[in-house]
């Protein structure tokens, strides 16, 4: 076997290398040669190619994402910002919370179970890496049409994968979304959010400093997982006859990760690490180059020391392997013995593979031969940056306003409502969420289908956090700038509806190909909208993830910015739930309804998209949040009005505890009539119940915040009664709950 | 090098939902001949050289105590390669 060393690279400058097969552009390859002053070795080529890929380098999105820094609001809560594995915010009482959302879309299409499982595993390690104990996960999922064959292939596997991995880790799954739309056929979106908690002093960073400190790899052994494209190098560099074809799919071992979590937390508790990084995309290449470049730069690695599950791996493959459940720590030599003892206790393999050096380069040897000698920053951070062309897409010219039926009679109300609440997007999602453990750890205060997930952080003070993820991709399609704002507003409203104060934001931006100027325009508008509203509302963006190339042929998915908002609640026992809790309460709607049906589920049900997203009224939404927080003691229940409008909210609120309601929607008082009252998705609205005795106090509060308040009716009975239409709750329940089991078994 | 194979199956009287799911899927793909499907587990234990009678007796005990649960499963030991 001929090892391609730094010496051979210098001696054979003209060797033809497969840079194109590795996805590099000609100028990128030229740049690598310029940086190194010679051609790269095959190991170096592998490292640069993966680290400079869209996925790792954000080369198409960087120029836009920098707005999050430029427009960042001042925030006392932000302890660690964008750039680390996950942002960290201060929630008071000495606690710090870290949260992040990431996509695992493409792997989940190829192998739904393992793709989704390793998506959960990866985001959990990102949170653990910050020094935090992971405390909950959420998973926004998007699929093609519910009855499409491909959806039947991927959905059960993805749901089982999220559950299989998360349940085995002991992390409550407290929310997320399940959305169906034709644009996701062949492009399912699997986004996973994890939240973790630590004390301020326990925050860990991915940095390697201190000459002589040791680089320790711990966790699972390294196998051929996820090497995929890099196998082209193995087949070119090495003698024929060996297995060159490696699987592109990573396989997850949640038990190994659970043990790794406990082991790492014990190591953190004894303050045994200088810096730490998990191994995810691009494996060791990424971890070593990022650790070194965040430190003083110098690091030497002896690659043959990496424990292998598959002894036939080449050095290039070891560097690229995306085997799961591995971490890389920087440790002072004096603390190694204690570190190793904890690893032995948890039966976790740990190996010293190198050390921090005085130099400026990352040097990797394989059996004594130098195969990588690079300035780590050039690998980790100095990748190419593209300012790709943008152009408003042509589809805007073809958008037409909605033309939807007028709804008046009892029969019309009943049949349209039942059709809507049994449609896959609005139907009850228990078939999915009952496959996830929402109770484990014993701190889940709220979980699906409540407006936000809520976790108790401190049992003695009842401090807690709430998390919600939201996106409305159709609004983003109609108006990506405002669509992003509306997603963030919905997410914040969901937080405030349960009684928590929005504190910080993360995002997962799922788009088509950045090489399509139309997609790039959607992306640019989305980022601009998000950065603007975060500045306006004073919410820091703590990090995020971009997933491009979600498209089939030239058809991209709907632009899907998923926004995750974290909120803080001082006393979780005061949280507000969405279900009507008792009879004889007043049912009220906060906020006005408009007659814009564009992008709504009801319009979708009638095969229409419409032409314009609502224009968000940000100051009004901010006053609404204040109203929700101040009015919380007055509310018996509260539920955000969003997908499916009032019809969906009433269905969910009545079915939660089996308490009916009588609702009057006087057509003449609502623009758009009863149809809008029931089905419009006008933002800035919340459905609440109050004791009649508290109505006056609430009314005064609403006036103070200049927010309209409408009485809709009262709770009680075993029907949902809307004007003259009486729908028995049992009929409502059947319609709402039978759809997903019927589709997916 | 030889491989000792231990095959573990649910006992016939124990419900096998995985086998049933496979049995239900087969006719949907046009394979209509299957009367029943049972799903089991296979362990491959590599040893140097030909396994001795003693080793086989040990594996038998391991299969009884660890690899299978005699309450619901039966097993079979054989040598391959």
């Amino acid at each position: 076997m001929a090892l391609d060393t730094v010496t051979t690279a210098a001696a054979q400058p003209d060797l033809v290398q497969p840079w194109q097969e590795l996805g590099l552009k000609e100028d990128e390859y030229a740049r690598i040669k310029e940086i190194l002053g010679r051609r790269p070795t095959s190991s170096e080529l592998a490292m640069y190619s993966v680290m400079w890929s869209e996925h790792c380098s954000y080369k198409s999105s960087k120029v836009h994402l920098k707005q999050f820094g430029e427009k960042a609001p001042h925030s006392d809560a932000l302890l660690v910002g964008i750039g680390e594995n996950a942002g960290v915010v201060d929630i008071g009482q000495g606690y710090a919370v870290t949260f992040k959302i990431e996509s695992h879309n493409h792997p989940s299409f190829i192998e739904p179970y393992q793709g989704a499982a390793t998506g959960v595993g990866g985001i959990v390690r990102d949170i653990l890496t910050m020094g935090a104990r992971p405390i909950a996960i959420m998973d926004p999922l998007r699929f093609g049409p519910a009855d499409a064959p491909d959806t039947r292939r991927v959905l059960p596997g993805i749901v089982a994968g999220v559950g299989g991995y998360g349940n085995c880790l002991g992390l409550p799954n407290i929310g997320g979304e399940v959305v169906f739309d034709a644009s996701y056929a062949g492009n399912p979106l699997v986004n996973a959010l994890c939240v973790g908690v630590m004390r301020h002093e326990d925050i860990k960073l991915a940095t390697a400093h201190g000459t002589g400190n040791l680089v320790v790899l711990f966790g699972a052994k390294t196998g051929g997982d996820g090497i995929g494209g890099v196998s082209v190098l193995a087949s070119e560099t090495f003698a024929s006859g060996k297995a060159a074809k490696r699987p592109a799919v990573q396989v997850g071992d949640p038990f190994a990760e659970k043990v790794l979590i406990e082991c790492s937390l014990e190591i953190f508790a004894e303050d045994l690490v200088v810096g730490i990084q998990d191994l995810g995309g691009a494996g060791l290449s990424c971890a070593t180059s990022e650790l070194a470049s965040a430190g003083s730069g110098g690091m030497s690695i002896q690659l043959e020391k990496v424990p292998l599950r598959d002894p036939s791996l080449s050095p290039e493959e070891i560097l690229m392997s995306e085997s799961q459940e591995r971490m890389c720590a920087i440790i002072e030599p004096a603390k190694l013995a204690r570190f190793m003892k904890i690893c032995r206790k948890w039966e976790v393999t740990a190996t010293v593979i190198g050390e921090v050096t005085e130099g400026k380069n990352l040097e990797i040897t394989f059996n004594g031969e130098l195969i990588v000698d690079v300035p780590p920053r050039t690998v980790a951070h100095d990748g190419p940056v593209y300012n790709r062309p943008i152009a408003k897409p042509a589809y805007f010219a073809t958008l037409t306003p909605t033309a939807l039926p007028k709804i008046e009679s009892a029969d019309e109300i009943k049949s349209e409502l039942l059709a809507l609440i049994s449609s896959p997007n609005i139907a009850d999602k228990s078939w999915v969420t009952d496959q996830y453990d929402r109770y484990v750890q014993g701190n889940s205060v709220l979980s699906q289908p409540e407006d936000s997930g809520m976790i108790r952080i401190d049992e003695s003070t009842n401090l807690g956090v709430a998390i919600s993820t939201d996106a409305n991709a159709r609004w983003s399609y109609l108006d990506p700038y405002n669509g992003a704002k509306l997603a963030l507003l919905e997410s914040c409203r969901n937080i405030a509806t349960t009684g928590a104060k929005p504190l910080a934001v993360t995002n997962c931006l799922n788009f088509g190909s950045p090489e399509d100027p139309g997609v790039m325009w959607q992306f640019a508008e989305t980022v601009r909208g998000l950065a603007d509203i975060c500045l306006e509302m004073g919410l820091p963006v703590t990090g995020g993830n971009v997933s491009f190339y979600n498209q089939t042929g030239t058809v991209a998915i709907l632009p899907t910015p998923v926004i995750g908002t974290l909120g803080v609640i001082q006393d979780v026992t005061s949280r507000t739930r969405m279900g009507f809790p008792a009879a004889d309460l007043m049912v009220m709607q906060i906020g006005n309804t408009s007659d814009n049906f564009s992008g709504s589920e009801w319009a979708h049900l009638h095969g229409q998209m419409g032409d314009s997203a609502p224009t968000p009224d940000v100051p009004a939404e901010m006053r609404l949040i204040d109203l929700l927080l101040e009015g919380q003691p007055l509310f018996e229940s509260a539920h955000d009005l969003s997908d499916g409008g009032l019809a969906a909210a009433l269905t969910e609120a009545t079915l939660r505890n089996g308490i009916g309601a009588t609702i009057a929607l006087p057509a003449q008082f609502i623009p758009g009539g009863v149809a809008a009252g029931l089905f419009a998705e006008t933002p800035g609205r919340v459905l609440i119940t109050v004791h009649p005795a508290n109505a006056e106090a609430l009314s005064a509060l609403a006036s103070k915040y200049e927010i309209p308040l409408h009485q809709l009716g009262s709770t009680g009975g075993s029907d949902l009664m809307i004007n003259e239409a009486a729908i028995p709750l049992e009929q409502l329940r059947k319609a709402h709950t039978e759809t997903l089991p019927r589709l997916f078994g | 090098m030889a491989t000792i194979v231990v095959e573990v199956m649910l006992k016939p009287e124990i419900l096998d939902p995985q086998g049933q799911a496979v049995a239900a899927a087969l006719p949907r793909l046009g394979f209509t001949f299957a009367k029943e499907v049972r799903q089991g587990k296979r362990f491959e234990i590599s040893v140097d050289g030909t396994p001795t009678a003693e080793q086989l007796a040990d594996i038998e005990r391991a299969a009884q105590t660890l690899l299978s649960n005699p309450v619901i499963e039966s097993f079979r030991v054989k040598v391959e390669g």
Binding site: G170, D253, P254, D434, Q435, D437, V445 | I14, N69
Partner: protein, 223 residues
């Protein structure tokens, strides 16, 4: 009153079980699988989770942990043991309880608020209940279908050793709707539902599970 909770590699509900003991008024004592030291506890809980990933069979590897050899000997002499979910599976694998827990009939992991009926209140873990009490306690498992031979089932039924039964619906295909059983002596109890996740209405569907933990404390005082 010291009640131990064993942490195996992959245990998940150990912290919740410790909390439940504390909320009930006992002294929770964490125990580690790799030691055979029971630390002078007067009863022990084997918590839920996926010990060793449940890769071979649920509970099959944990059963051989050093702590289990101590527990098995003690249990045979009347020491109270409660196995919850994965703990129930470990007790069956240890042959402290008859039968086995197999893959759910629907093949899915199921997490739901499960209605249950108390069938036996003469064990130290259920003495605070009244026979016939209706409880709502979460279940969350992928392999919770209780299976046993016809003779074993007949024996369990005739000796009144069914502790909890599913009611309204059977979530996993368990024989005779069995959700929990006890040994002949009554000191070892295994249940699939998670009483430790139903001790406060803030975080659980009810407080119905707390009685498991208050029962054991009262039973021990009476000894």
């Amino acid at each position: 009153m010291r009640v131990g909770v064993v942490t195996f590699p992959g245990s998940l509900d150990d912290s919740s079980a410790l909390r439940a003991i504390r909320v009930a008024g006992g002294i929770p004592v964490p125990l580690f699988h790799a030691s055979d030291d029971l630390k002078e506890v007067q009863a022990v809980v084997l918590p839920g989770g996926f010990s060793y990933g449940d890769y071979l069979r649920c509970g099959a590897i944990s059963r051989f942990a050093p702590i289990m050899s101590s527990i098995i000997i003690a249990a045979e002499h009347g020491f109270p043991v409660l196995g919850i979910c994965n703990g129930f599976q470990i007790l069956c694998e240890s042959h402290l309880l008859p039968g086995a827990l197999t893959r759910n009939q629907g093949l899915h992991f199921v997490c739901t608020d499960q209605p249950l009926i108390v069938e036996n209140n003469s064990t130290p873990w259920t003495s605070g209940y009244t026979k016939g009490d209706r409880l709502v306690i979460p279940i969350k498992n992928g392999e919770g279908s209780f299976q046993a031979s016809t003779e074993t089932l007949a024996e369990l039924e005739s000796e009144g050793r069914i502790v909890l039964r599913y009611t309204e619906s059977n979530p996993n295909g368990s024989k005779n709707d069995i959700a929990g059983i006890t040994n002949a002596r009554g000191n070892v109890v295994g249940v699939m539902p998670h009483p430790e996740q139903a001790i406060e209405s803030l975080t659980g569907p009810s407080e119905d599970g707390l009685t498991f933990f208050t029962s054991i404390l009262h039973s021990m005082v009476g000894r």
